[in-house]
């Protein structure tokens, strides 16, 4: 039953989603695209773009959207898909709710102990690897095209990738503006 799978998957993502919104994206991508094949990698990329551009935390936005798309792609109608997004969002939030209540009730005093600090120190470099993997896994034919398939689109895609990376990392352009610029570039160059 896809709703149960959806719930379990996003509950797991909520438990293991360390490293903020982007760290969570690599888990969402792995589970929904690579593992369950609920979405294609271009659908996932579109969802990230839209989650980035709309208000609200990226984790919640993309969970809502992935839940919707997963159910819709499974052949259900729009209203059943709404239930899918509710399931995914609820499942994602539930571990946070439980964990933060537990921490504020009894574990507050343990948060600064050596053991807890050591665990978090171990997680930090691994989360960097998670993000690197998400980047690599998104370098697909669907997102960039291929030289054989469409040389022009492939070159423009690579150019846009480099330009966006440089723009956001070095010139510090706002990511939302960067998405809008690349939408214009796509419209002009890839129509």
């Amino acid at each position: 039953m896809i709703f149960v799978k959806l719930f379990i998957t996003f509950f797991e993502i909520g438990i293991f989603g360390f490293g903020g919104g982007y760290g969570m994206l690599s888990l969402i991508q792995h589970e929904t695209v690579e593992h369950w094949h609920w979405l294609s990698s271009s659908e996932f990329t579109d969802i990230v773009a839209i989650s980035q551009m709309t208000p609200g935390p990226i984790g919640i936005n993309s969970a809502t959207y992935c839940g919707y798309t997963a159910i819709y792609n499974a052949g259900y109608g729009h209203w059943v898909a709404v239930l899918g997004s509710a399931t995914a969002t609820f499942a994602l939030v539930l571990p946070s709710l439980i964990l933060m209540i537990l921490i504020s009730r009894m574990f507050m005093k343990y948060m600064h102990t050596r053991t807890v600090t050591a665990i978090f120190a171990g997680l930090r470099p691994a989360v960097v690897g998670l993000l690197a993997a998400a980047t690599l896994l998104l370098c697909t034919r669907e997102n960039f095209s291929t030289p054989q398939e469409d040389l022009w689109q492939f070159c423009i895609s690579c150019l846009l990738f480099v330009a966006s990376f440089y723009g956001v990392k070095v010139i510090k352009i706002n990511p939302i503006h960067m998405i809008l610029y690349s939408a214009v570039a796509g419209l002009v160059l890839l129509y």
């Binding site: 919640i60 930090r124 691994a126 895609s157």
Partner: protein, 202 residues
């Protein structure tokens, strides 16, 4: 119910509604997610409503960042619990998630009809490579914050290769890394007061 009880009940329901509203507002105005919202939360929760003191907020930010889950939700749950226990936490959590949920639903229903429109399709062909770059940027920023050096750089590289090539689930990487951190802290890092010179480069 006498008038005093009634007044108390009204006050309680008011604070549910008030905290729900405040976090709804925070949910709406978080653009781009993550740390951009910290000043907004501080303004609302610390300065205006005074639900949490400034020092508590600093602690709370540190905890919410290191715990799994969505940062904004973690903060909301914590503040809500402090105000009204579990029911308060549920009110603030729903408040934070609801704007996202409604906006995304509206877009999802709308977008599925326009996805095949040639203009929209061309725009998204341009957007997709840019978004991949947007995920690549925090990889490097996070790497810097994690203070990677010669001795630790292999950890993200091996984790990424395991996920990318071997199809290992990121969940196993997280579990392994947490366990490794725990064991390292327990058996090797006894001289915590003297951080290794590698991590102290400016």
């Amino acid at each position: 119910m006498n008038s005093e009880e009634f007044a108390t009940a009204r006050k309680v329901s008011n604070i549910y509604w008030d905290s729900f509203k405040t976090f709804f507002k925070i949910g709406i105005f978080t653009l781009g997610g993550g740390y951009a919202m910290i000043p907004l939360i501080e303004e609302e929760v610390v300065n205006r409503k005074q639900w949490v003191s400034k020092d508590e907020m600093l602690d709370l930010i540190a905890i919410a960042q290191s715990c799994p889950g969505v940062f904004a939700i973690n903060i909301a749950t914590f503040v809500g619990y402090k105000l009204n226990k579990t029911r308060g936490a549920i009110a603030t959590t729903i408040g934070t998630a609801l704007p996202s949920f409604l906006i995304i639903l509206a877009i999802a229903m709308f977008f599925s009809q326009f996805k095949d429109n040639p203009v929209v399709a061309a725009m998204f062909r341009g957007i997709r490579p840019a978004v991949v770059a947007l995920i690549a940027v925090p990889t490097f920023n996070l790497g810097k914050r994690a203070k990677l050096n010669m001795w630790t750089i292999w950890i993200p590289v091996v984790s990424a290769l395991l996920i990318w090539w071997m199809g290992v689930s990121p969940i196993w990487i997280i579990i392994a890394a947490g366990l490794a951190g725990y064991l390292y802290g327990k058996f090797f890092a006894s001289d915590n007061q003297h951080p290794s010179p590698n991590t102290q480069h400016p």
